[in-house]
Protein backbone atom coordinates (compact mmCIF):
# COMPACT_ATOMS: atom_id res chain seq x y z
CA UNK A 1 0.00 0.00 0.00
CA UNK A 2 1.77 3.10 -1.22
CA UNK A 3 0.76 6.26 0.66
CA UNK A 4 -0.91 9.01 -1.33
CA UNK A 5 1.63 11.53 -0.13
CA UNK A 6 4.41 9.81 -2.09
CA UNK A 7 2.43 10.00 -5.31
CA UNK A 8 1.77 13.65 -4.68
CA UNK A 9 5.43 14.40 -4.01
CA UNK A 10 6.47 12.72 -7.27
CA UNK A 11 3.83 14.60 -9.19
CA UNK A 12 4.78 17.93 -7.57
CA UNK A 13 8.40 17.32 -8.61
CA UNK A 14 7.31 16.53 -12.17
CA UNK A 15 5.14 19.64 -12.28
CA UNK A 16 8.00 21.86 -11.19
CA UNK A 17 10.31 20.24 -13.74
CA UNK A 18 7.72 21.06 -16.39
CA UNK A 19 7.48 24.61 -15.13
CA UNK A 20 11.25 24.98 -15.33
CA UNK A 21 11.33 23.59 -18.87
CA UNK A 22 8.57 25.94 -20.01
CA UNK A 23 10.37 28.93 -18.52
CA UNK A 24 13.88 28.27 -19.78
CA UNK A 25 13.81 26.42 -23.09
CA UNK A 26 14.29 28.36 -26.30
CA UNK A 27 12.59 25.89 -28.55
CA UNK A 28 8.83 25.77 -28.95
CA UNK A 29 8.80 21.98 -29.13
CA UNK A 30 10.60 21.70 -25.81
CA UNK A 31 8.18 24.18 -24.30
CA UNK A 32 5.43 21.85 -25.48
CA UNK A 33 7.21 18.95 -23.78
CA UNK A 34 7.26 21.01 -20.58
CA UNK A 35 3.51 21.46 -20.84
CA UNK A 36 3.16 17.71 -21.32
CA UNK A 37 5.15 17.24 -18.12
CA UNK A 38 2.70 19.41 -16.21
CA UNK A 39 -0.27 17.55 -17.70
CA UNK A 40 1.27 14.24 -16.73
CA UNK A 41 1.79 15.43 -13.18
CA UNK A 42 -1.90 16.26 -12.96
CA UNK A 43 -2.77 12.85 -14.44
CA UNK A 44 -0.65 11.13 -11.82
CA UNK A 45 -2.60 12.92 -9.10
CA UNK A 46 -5.91 11.92 -10.65
CA UNK A 47 -4.87 8.29 -10.88
CA UNK A 48 -3.53 8.23 -7.34
CA UNK A 49 -6.77 9.58 -5.92
CA UNK A 50 -8.85 7.50 -8.31
CA UNK A 51 -7.77 4.44 -6.35
CA UNK A 52 -10.27 5.42 -3.67
CA UNK A 53 -13.21 5.48 -6.05
CA UNK A 54 -13.75 1.94 -7.20
CA UNK A 55 -17.43 2.24 -8.11
CA UNK A 56 -17.51 5.42 -10.16
CA UNK A 57 -13.86 5.32 -11.32
CA UNK A 58 -13.79 9.11 -11.61
CA UNK A 59 -10.03 9.56 -11.43
CA UNK A 60 -9.12 6.99 -14.05
CA UNK A 61 -11.81 8.10 -16.50
CA UNK A 62 -10.81 11.73 -16.26
CA UNK A 63 -7.20 10.70 -16.78
CA UNK A 64 -8.27 8.98 -19.99
CA UNK A 65 -10.05 12.17 -21.07
CA UNK A 66 -7.06 14.30 -20.27
CA UNK A 67 -4.72 11.98 -22.20
CA UNK A 68 -7.05 12.30 -25.20
CA UNK A 69 -7.13 16.06 -24.88
CA UNK A 70 -3.34 16.15 -24.58
CA UNK A 71 -3.11 14.26 -27.86
CA UNK A 72 -5.43 16.77 -29.54
CA UNK A 73 -3.49 19.69 -28.06
CA UNK A 74 -0.20 18.30 -29.26
CA UNK A 75 -1.46 17.76 -32.78
CA UNK A 76 -2.72 21.35 -33.06
CA UNK A 77 0.33 22.84 -31.34
CA UNK A 78 2.76 21.00 -33.60
CA UNK A 79 0.82 22.15 -36.66
CA UNK A 80 1.11 25.72 -35.39
CA UNK A 81 4.83 25.29 -34.70
CA UNK A 82 5.44 23.98 -38.21
CA UNK A 83 3.57 26.95 -39.64
CA UNK A 84 5.64 29.24 -37.47
CA UNK A 85 8.78 27.65 -38.83
CA UNK A 86 7.57 28.16 -42.37
CA UNK A 87 7.06 31.87 -41.76
CA UNK A 88 9.97 32.80 -39.50
CA UNK A 89 12.50 30.03 -40.11
CA UNK A 90 12.90 29.71 -36.36
CA UNK A 91 10.92 28.18 -33.54
CA UNK A 92 12.44 30.20 -30.75
CA UNK A 93 9.45 31.67 -28.92
CA UNK A 94 11.38 34.79 -27.91
CA UNK A 95 12.25 35.61 -31.51
CA UNK A 96 8.78 35.27 -32.95
CA UNK A 97 7.29 38.41 -31.52
CA UNK A 98 5.32 39.86 -34.41
CA UNK A 99 1.62 39.29 -34.44
CA UNK A 100 1.30 40.34 -38.06
CA UNK A 101 3.89 41.03 -40.74
Amino acid sequence: MIPLTDFLVVSAALFCTGLFIVLTKRNAILVLIGIEFMLNAANLNLVAFGKYDRLANGGQIFTLFSITLAAATTAVALAIILNLYKRYKTIDPSKTDHLKD
Binding site: Q60, L69, A75, N83
Partner: protein, 182 residues
Protein backbone atom coordinates in the same frame (compact mmCIF):
# COMPACT_ATOMS: atom_id res chain seq x y z
CA UNK B 1 4.47 -5.29 -0.19
CA UNK B 2 7.98 -4.00 0.18
CA UNK B 3 8.65 -5.07 -3.41
CA UNK B 4 5.83 -2.82 -4.59
CA UNK B 5 7.21 0.05 -2.55
CA UNK B 6 10.70 -0.46 -3.88
CA UNK B 7 9.34 -0.50 -7.43
CA UNK B 8 7.36 2.65 -6.73
CA UNK B 9 10.40 4.53 -5.49
CA UNK B 10 12.46 3.24 -8.40
CA UNK B 11 9.84 4.39 -10.93
CA UNK B 12 9.38 7.72 -9.20
CA UNK B 13 13.12 8.27 -9.16
CA UNK B 14 13.41 7.39 -12.85
CA UNK B 15 10.54 9.72 -13.73
CA UNK B 16 11.92 12.68 -11.81
CA UNK B 17 15.55 12.08 -12.81
CA UNK B 18 14.78 11.77 -16.51
CA UNK B 19 12.59 14.87 -16.21
CA UNK B 20 15.52 16.76 -14.76
CA UNK B 21 17.70 15.43 -17.56
CA UNK B 22 15.22 16.79 -20.11
CA UNK B 23 15.42 20.13 -18.36
CA UNK B 24 19.21 20.18 -18.16
CA UNK B 25 20.29 18.60 -21.43
CA UNK B 26 21.52 20.73 -24.28
CA UNK B 27 21.05 18.07 -26.89
CA UNK B 28 17.45 18.42 -28.03
CA UNK B 29 17.07 14.97 -29.54
CA UNK B 30 18.44 13.39 -26.41
CA UNK B 31 15.99 15.28 -24.26
CA UNK B 32 13.10 14.11 -26.43
CA UNK B 33 14.18 10.52 -25.93
CA UNK B 34 14.52 11.13 -22.21
CA UNK B 35 10.94 12.37 -22.26
CA UNK B 36 10.08 8.91 -23.60
CA UNK B 37 11.74 7.38 -20.51
CA UNK B 38 9.70 9.69 -18.26
CA UNK B 39 6.47 8.62 -19.93
CA UNK B 40 7.35 4.94 -19.50
CA UNK B 41 8.15 5.47 -15.83
CA UNK B 42 4.84 7.27 -15.41
CA UNK B 43 3.06 4.32 -16.96
CA UNK B 44 4.78 2.15 -14.36
CA UNK B 45 3.55 4.46 -11.62
CA UNK B 46 0.01 4.14 -12.98
CA UNK B 47 0.30 0.37 -12.80
CA UNK B 48 1.44 0.65 -9.19
CA UNK B 49 -1.60 2.83 -8.49
CA UNK B 50 -3.61 -0.15 -9.86
CA UNK B 51 -4.80 1.69 -12.95
CA UNK B 52 -3.61 -0.74 -15.61
CA UNK B 53 -5.88 0.48 -18.40
CA UNK B 54 -4.68 4.04 -17.94
CA UNK B 55 -1.09 2.80 -18.07
CA UNK B 56 -1.70 1.03 -21.37
CA UNK B 57 -3.45 4.10 -22.75
CA UNK B 58 -0.51 6.22 -21.64
CA UNK B 59 1.89 4.00 -23.54
CA UNK B 60 -0.28 3.75 -26.65
CA UNK B 61 -1.30 7.39 -26.90
CA UNK B 62 1.73 9.20 -25.51
CA UNK B 63 4.56 7.00 -26.66
CA UNK B 64 2.91 5.78 -29.84
CA UNK B 65 1.21 9.01 -30.82
CA UNK B 66 2.46 12.16 -29.21
CA UNK B 67 6.13 11.29 -29.10
CA UNK B 68 6.17 10.24 -32.74
CA UNK B 69 4.45 13.53 -33.61
CA UNK B 70 7.04 15.48 -31.65
CA UNK B 71 9.91 13.69 -33.37
CA UNK B 72 8.24 14.38 -36.73
CA UNK B 73 8.03 18.06 -35.89
CA UNK B 74 11.70 18.03 -34.92
CA UNK B 75 12.70 16.51 -38.21
CA UNK B 76 10.48 18.89 -40.20
CA UNK B 77 11.49 22.08 -38.42
CA UNK B 78 14.90 22.11 -39.96
CA UNK B 79 18.47 21.59 -39.07
CA UNK B 80 18.84 24.66 -36.93
CA UNK B 81 16.44 23.46 -34.31
CA UNK B 82 18.44 20.26 -34.08
CA UNK B 83 21.96 21.66 -34.08
CA UNK B 84 21.84 25.43 -33.98
CA UNK B 85 20.64 25.91 -30.47
CA UNK B 86 23.27 23.68 -28.96
CA UNK B 87 25.77 26.40 -28.33
CA UNK B 88 23.57 28.04 -25.75
CA UNK B 89 25.03 28.05 -22.29
CA UNK B 90 25.56 24.63 -20.88
CA UNK B 91 25.32 25.03 -17.15
CA UNK B 92 22.10 24.02 -15.46
CA UNK B 93 22.05 27.10 -13.26
CA UNK B 94 23.26 30.22 -14.97
CA UNK B 95 22.37 33.81 -14.32
CA UNK B 96 19.53 34.10 -16.78
CA UNK B 97 18.08 30.79 -15.69
CA UNK B 98 18.30 31.71 -12.03
CA UNK B 99 14.86 33.25 -11.90
CA UNK B 100 13.32 30.13 -13.47
CA UNK B 101 15.16 27.87 -11.02
CA UNK B 102 14.02 30.02 -8.13
CA UNK B 103 10.42 30.06 -9.31
CA UNK B 104 10.29 26.31 -9.85
CA UNK B 105 11.99 25.55 -6.52
CA UNK B 106 9.76 27.91 -4.59
CA UNK B 107 6.69 26.46 -6.28
CA UNK B 108 7.87 22.98 -5.35
CA UNK B 109 8.39 24.00 -1.74
CA UNK B 110 4.95 25.61 -1.69
CA UNK B 111 3.23 22.51 -3.06
CA UNK B 112 5.19 20.23 -0.74
CA UNK B 113 4.21 22.37 2.20
CA UNK B 114 0.55 22.36 1.27
CA UNK B 115 0.34 18.64 0.60
CA UNK B 116 2.14 17.77 3.80
CA UNK B 117 -0.25 19.99 5.68
CA UNK B 118 -3.37 18.49 4.13
CA UNK B 119 -2.15 14.97 4.88
CA UNK B 120 -3.94 13.31 1.94
CA UNK B 121 -3.98 9.81 3.43
CA UNK B 122 -6.28 10.94 6.20
CA UNK B 123 -8.67 13.06 4.20
CA UNK B 124 -12.27 12.53 5.19
CA UNK B 125 -13.49 11.05 1.92
CA UNK B 126 -10.44 8.84 1.60
CA UNK B 127 -11.06 7.43 5.06
CA UNK B 128 -14.70 6.93 4.17
CA UNK B 129 -13.77 5.07 0.99
CA UNK B 130 -11.41 2.84 2.94
CA UNK B 131 -14.03 2.06 5.57
CA UNK B 132 -16.68 1.33 2.92
CA UNK B 133 -14.20 -0.87 0.99
CA UNK B 134 -14.67 1.45 -2.00
CA UNK B 135 -11.04 1.27 -3.01
CA UNK B 136 -9.24 -0.63 -5.74
CA UNK B 137 -7.20 -3.50 -4.41
CA UNK B 138 -4.07 -4.66 -6.11
CA UNK B 139 -5.57 -7.72 -7.80
CA UNK B 140 -8.80 -6.12 -9.02
CA UNK B 141 -9.66 -6.06 -12.70
CA UNK B 142 -10.80 -2.49 -13.22
CA UNK B 143 -11.27 -2.57 -16.97
CA UNK B 144 -14.83 -3.98 -16.89
CA UNK B 145 -16.01 -1.37 -14.46
CA UNK B 146 -14.19 1.34 -16.41
CA UNK B 147 -15.94 0.40 -19.64
CA UNK B 148 -19.36 0.26 -18.03
CA UNK B 149 -18.85 3.64 -16.38
CA UNK B 150 -17.54 5.18 -19.58
CA UNK B 151 -20.63 4.06 -21.47
CA UNK B 152 -23.18 4.95 -18.79
CA UNK B 153 -22.17 7.50 -16.22
CA UNK B 154 -19.66 9.43 -18.33
CA UNK B 155 -21.32 9.07 -21.72
CA UNK B 156 -21.81 12.80 -22.35
CA UNK B 157 -18.19 13.81 -21.67
CA UNK B 158 -17.09 10.85 -23.77
CA UNK B 159 -19.08 12.02 -26.79
CA UNK B 160 -18.05 15.64 -26.30
CA UNK B 161 -14.40 14.58 -26.19
CA UNK B 162 -14.81 12.57 -29.36
CA UNK B 163 -16.28 15.58 -31.19
CA UNK B 164 -13.54 17.82 -29.82
CA UNK B 165 -10.88 15.38 -30.97
CA UNK B 166 -12.36 15.33 -34.46
CA UNK B 167 -12.44 19.13 -34.54
CA UNK B 168 -8.86 19.38 -33.31
CA UNK B 169 -7.58 16.92 -35.90
CA UNK B 170 -9.43 18.64 -38.75
CA UNK B 171 -8.10 21.97 -37.49
CA UNK B 172 -4.54 20.66 -37.32
CA UNK B 173 -4.78 19.33 -40.85
CA UNK B 174 -6.17 22.67 -41.99
CA UNK B 175 -3.43 24.70 -40.30
CA UNK B 176 -0.59 22.59 -41.61
CA UNK B 177 -1.77 22.36 -45.22
CA UNK B 178 0.36 23.81 -47.99
CA UNK B 179 -0.43 27.40 -48.79
CA UNK B 180 0.02 28.52 -52.35
CA UNK B 181 1.23 32.03 -51.63
CA UNK B 182 4.06 31.91 -49.12
Amino acid sequence: MTMVKALFYLMGFIAVASGLYVAASRNLVRSVFMFFVTLMALAGLYVLASADFVAITQIVVYVGGILVLIIFAFMLSGRESLAGLQQQESRFISINKLSAVLLAALFFILMLNILLKTDPDHLQWVQKAVSEKNMVKSGDATVNNLGINLMSHYLLPFEVVSILLLMALVGAAHISRKEKSL
